[in-house]
């Protein structure tokens, strides 16, 4: 029994009848598991993970949830505008971001053999921009432009732009370039080649990318108000600090319904776009 446990860590060796020794293949998995557990424990100590506090005061969390349960319907007229703003900001941001992204993504796909230095530097700048969370962008725009939906819309535009460009150029690079070359050989200009041979191939994917951006951006737009960049987030953080949980419950219910409806609609539309 004890021997079996030991052999988890080092391979068994067998002596065959002809005196030859055969070793099992070495399996690094147990060592990696121990290393992994050590890392998790180390990081838990570092971030002061405290399960007893969670168990002892965990019902505070559910107290907040329970206090939301009869939502305060009278709050609706106050938050109506903010809720609409959230959806509109997301729509506008996605439209602008994706509209700018479409031509740029053709420049950034390597199969058109454009300027290499421009391509690499622009891609690098894009991936740097992509690593910044949308809230930091929104906070920056709020500082520059002042409080309001403008800052949020700009932040969403920049964010959608980076996402859309990346998805588009990766898709364009996988396309069949035969039609493009055929049009090129007839002497068509580059714009006409793209419109005639590449655009029909990417149309569906572009629209579905746009819908994906719109859908995810509604969620991010909901938190942009935390930093004063417009939308429903201001209501969430405000009612939470004021401890008016009934109002918060209404905000969350309307957000859940909005997101579920949008998800259903965009999923349907995207399936249509991909198949038809």
């Amino acid at each position: 029994m004890f021997d079996d446990i030991l052999h988890i860590f080092y391979p068994r060796s067998y002596t065959l009848g002809n005196g030859k020794e055969v070793k099992e293949k070495f399996n690094p998995f147990p060592y990696l598991l121990i290393l992994f557990i050590a890392i998790v424990i180390g990081l838990s100590v570092f971030t002061r993970v405290n399960l007893t506090a969670l168990i002892k005061r965990g019902n505070n969390f559910f107290d907040i949830v329970r206090a939301m349960i009869p939502p305060n319907w009278d709050y609706w007229p106050t938050m109506e505008k903010a809720m609409l703003d959230t959806i509109n900001m997301s729509l506008l941001g996605s439209v602008f971001g994706c509209a700018v992204a479409l031509p740029v993504s053709f420049y950034l796909s390597s199969n058109f053999k454009l300027n290499k230095i421009y391509l690499v530097s622009h891609r690098l700048a894009l991936s740097m921009l992509r690593t910044l969370p949308i809230l930091v962008l929104a906070f920056f725009f709020r500082t520059v432009l002042g409080i309001g939906a403008m800052a949020g819309t700009l932040a969403i535009s920049v964010f959608s732009y980076t996402i859309c460009v990346k998805m588009m150029y990766e898709y364009i690079e996988t396309l069949d370039m035969g039609a493009y070359e055929a049009l090129e050989s007839t002497g068509a200009s580059r714009l006409k080649c793209i419109l005639g041979a590449v655009w029909p191939q990417v149309k569906g994917f572009f629209l579905s990318t746009f819908l994906y951006c719109f859908e995810t951006n509604v969620k991010s737009a909901a938190i942009l108000g935390f930093v004063g960049a417009g939308g429903i987030g201001l209501n969430i953080s405000g009612q939470l600090t004021l401890r008016r949980y009934g109002n918060l419950g209404l905000v969350l219910i309307s957000m859940t319904v909005t997101i579920m409806v949008l998800e259903a609609v965009t999923r349907y539309a995207r399936r249509k776009l991909v198949t038809g």
């Binding site: 002061r48 993970v49 907040i64 500082t143 432009l145 997101i259």
Partner: protein, 271 residues
Amino acid sequence: MNTSLLEQQYKRYPKAWPQFVIGFVAIVAVIIIWNVTVSFGGFTERGWGMLALAFQGLVRPSWAVISDLGPTGLLMMLAETFAIGFLGTVFGTIIAIPLAFISSRNIAPRWVNIITLGFITIIRAFPSLMYGIMFVKTVGTGAFAGVLTMTIGSVGMLSKMMVESVEDIDPGIIESLDAAGCTGFQKVRYGIMPQLSSSIISNVLYRLDINVKNASVLGLVSAGGIGAQLIFAIQSRRWDDIGAMVWGLVILVLAIEYASTKIRNSLAAKS
């Protein structure tokens, strides 16, 4: 004869005008929504100058922040951000795997699936920063609240993705192991794990990417990470400090993204 054939072909050609009408309506709608939602009040005091200063900060980051090894230094803050994202992913995975199994159609009865899937949808619908505020009220400020927030966010997405791969399990393999007389453990080890492990690992790595990135804004609700210092720096317009923190964040996130994409691609190539 020839002309009529040509005309027939022209009639079969798809009409372009519906696209133009849709495009026109979409543009008008965007303009209307723009006027309803956004009021462009111009740049606040010296907005353009501030943009220039921000760029200057990126070019010339503050060395004081970078070389500071204390708790407010860049390295410690990045380490905390990474720790929050990593632990959130690990704990989230531990919760998400059983949840995904009981919400798959081929494992549990339908009414259980509907309850758990509804639970997952509700979790996913709320913004994660709101969980951040609620956890800060529950366990106090600090990185632990951040870990809990990231855990909940990961559970929502991971279990939704895992349900799809669990429902794709090929029952034939398990049946044949059954026929060979394998025990329950052996069926799980050799029948289920090889089918699931690569898709689960790639989903988890993808989530790790997202979590580390999102952990950098948790500081906004004082749930740990680099966010608090970053927001303070933007508020008080210390552009060189912002530059240092943004560079650190970019390098951390890009490194994790690079590693996780590499591993995921090699997993996809193997399976």
